[in-house]
């Protein structure tokens, strides 16, 4: 009998599999398809202070082994999330959930995190300083070590739950940004957000996506995720939530060997709504195949 449990910031997960923000809504729509309590947890749709419609359409483009999205943080705003979405989530999910937060100023992040921190079902705050699809914020905080640290400090000052900072791969040196977040009090790092990408339609000779560029995700980016997680694991002592193209139990193990304590599954949920459940179910088989008895013992095993 293999043990799939891992501990993330002093909360035990039954398994390390976490559907990523923006690919799983607020959970209840997937709960119509299967019992989502089989998951380690999940990270809910990126929430901002005010409601946002997001970017114009088309927002989606297909690529080889992946996709580009430029949704632009569509969400109903933190008050509506607390009033309407979390009660629905509570009915179908009985584990601590990861609250994903975005903002356009330090004050935005503080406002939204402070509100969500008070919600009983929120186990962790995943602070997204790396959205490539919004102007005047988002990724701007994640591409500067000082700005990322400032957001981290400000959020930590008003919250009690573990704060995990979600980092962008669209930087020269992700290690220095991760270290700055750790020094500013972050309880964890999640990485990698999507890579800034673009697709041009040969028929129209214009970008497919209305916003021109968007976040590239899917299996094609997994080697970049593995490399960056490996680098950051060597430099920080806080846990890493790894993600980037994860589509199978084998991918989960690979990211854990690179240094991830838990692993998010993103685009795969959009291709196959049962992907996260199937990965959870397949983990014991793959662990046995690679003679892993205790999943938490392989974290950073490649170093």
């Amino acid at each position: 009998m293999v043990n799939t449990k891992v501990e993330l910031c002093n909360i035990t997960l039954d398994n390390p599999v976490i559907p990523a923000s923006g690919t799983f809504g607020f959970g209840y729509e997937f709960a119509e398809l299967y019992d989502i309590n089989c998951l380690g947890t999940f990270s809910f749709k990126g929430t901002t202070k005010d409601a946002r419609f997001g970017n114009p359409t088309p927002r989606i483009a297909e690529c080889d082994r992946g996709m580009i999205n430029a949704v632009g943080l569509q969400n109903p705003g933190v008050e509506a999330v607390i009033a309407n979405e979390l009660p629905k989530l509570k009915e179908c999910f009985n584990k601590p959930v990861m609250a994903n937060v975005s903002g356009f100023s330090v004050e935005d992040y503080v406002y939204t995190c402070e509100k969500l921190d008070k919600e009983e079902q929120v186990g962790w705050l995943e602070v997204n300083v790396s959205c490539p699809n919004v102007h005047g914020g988002g990724m701007a905080f994640g591409t500067s070590a000082e700005a990322a640290a400032e957001v981290t400090r400000a959020v930590k000052a008003v919250t009690t739950k573990p704060v995990i900072i979600k980092l962008s791969p669209n930087v020269t040196d992700i290690v220095s940004i991760a270290k700055a977040c750790e020094a500013a009090g972050a309880d964890g790092i999640s990485m990698i957000n999507t890579m800034l990408g673009m697709k041009i339609d040969l028929k129209t000779k214009k970008p497919v996506i209305a916003n021109k560029m968007g976040g590239f995700s899917g299996p094609a980016i997994k080697p970049v995720a593995v490399r960056m997680i490996y680098q950051v694991y060597e430099a920080v002592n806080i846990p890493i939530v790894g993600m980037g193209g994860v589509s199978s139990a084998e991918d989960v193990i690979e990211l854990m060997l690179a240094g991830a304590t838990a692993v998010e599954v993103g685009a795969a949920n959009l291709i196959d709504p049962f992907a996260a459940r199937d990965i959870v179910n397949d983990l014991p088989r793959v662990m046995e195949k690679y003679r892993i008895n205790n999943l938490s013992e392989i974290i950073g095993g490649a170093h």
């Binding site: 419609f53 989606i60 196959d272 709504p273």
Partner: protein
């Protein structure tokens, strides 16, 4: 929504670049005319959303146009092959408002979802008129199939090579009807919006990520708030649409 592995029993060309595919298996998740399915193809990352042309409990008929690499690969699939399909996606048409003399308007690959809708309305005893719009004669399909259902059928072609020369609205403007249902390209919708004298329902198309409401890739604004074309649509009522 359900995921099923359906077997291809037919896949044939029926007009220029247009193919008809019949799939067999458990199609019980499809509950309304105007819903769509989302098909996984080997070698392509995202699924292909295709509207349902006709269905019963064990078969599904779709009609698709070859517009890119994905649909080109689809056209080459042999009978007997199994496809990974998400079924029962989208809201579909609400037949309750049709009145006794509904008008169905399909443009190009917007024609297929009109077929099952027409069948159901006629089964309810409605007197159905159908306008099918195409660019040119060699793109026309399903004229006889709609006639066989018992509908009054008008064909328009932009170049005048068959039927009435012009657009669907050139026929629509001379008809009387109780309500309308339509599916087709945006320029056609705008012309219909300018011509229609009753309420109606439009089925929209948008690039989708998932097709089942998770990714917010296909959102649109309506008078009643934001909606996802894939989950809250693809059918929207005339009164709620912001043009």
């Amino acid at each position: 929504m359900k995921q099923e592995f359906l077997t291809i029993t037919e896949n044939k060309k029926i007009a220029k670049d247009v193919y008809l595919m019949v799939l067999e298996g458990d199609t019980s998740a499809i509950t309304a005319s105007g819903q769509f399915v989302n098909i996984k193809l080997d070698g392509f990352y995202l699924r292909r959303p295709i509207s349902v042309c006709d269905y019963d409990d064990t078969t599904l008929t779709i009609i698709y146009k070859v517009v890119g690499d994905g649909t080109e690969a689809m056209a080459k699939l042999p009978c007997g092959e199994k496809l990974d399909v998400l079924l029962g996606l989208g809201n579909g048409y609400n037949l309750g408002k049709s009145g006794d003399t509904p008008l169905l308007i399909g443009g190009g690959v917007g024609v297929p979802p009109m077929y099952n809708l027409c069948k159901k309305l006629i089964a309810e005893g409605k007197k159905v008129t159908v306008i099918l719009g195409f660019n040119t004669k060699e793109e026309i399909f399903f004229e006889d199939e709609f006639k066989a259902l018992g509908a009054s059928v008008h064909i328009t072609t932009v170049d005048g090579s068959y039927g009435t020369k012009g657009f669907v609205t050139d026929v629509m403007k001379n008809l009387t009807y109780s309500y309308f249902f339509t599916c087709g390209p945006m320029p056609m919708f705008k012309a219909i919006e300018a011509t229609a004298v009753t309420s109606g329902q439009y089925s929209f198309e948008e690039r989708m990520g998932c097709g089942f409401g998770a990714c917010m890739g296909c959102s649109c604004k309506t008078k009643y708030g934001n909606k996802r074309i894939c989950k809250d649509g693809p059918v929207l009522e005339r009164e709620e649409i912001i043009w």
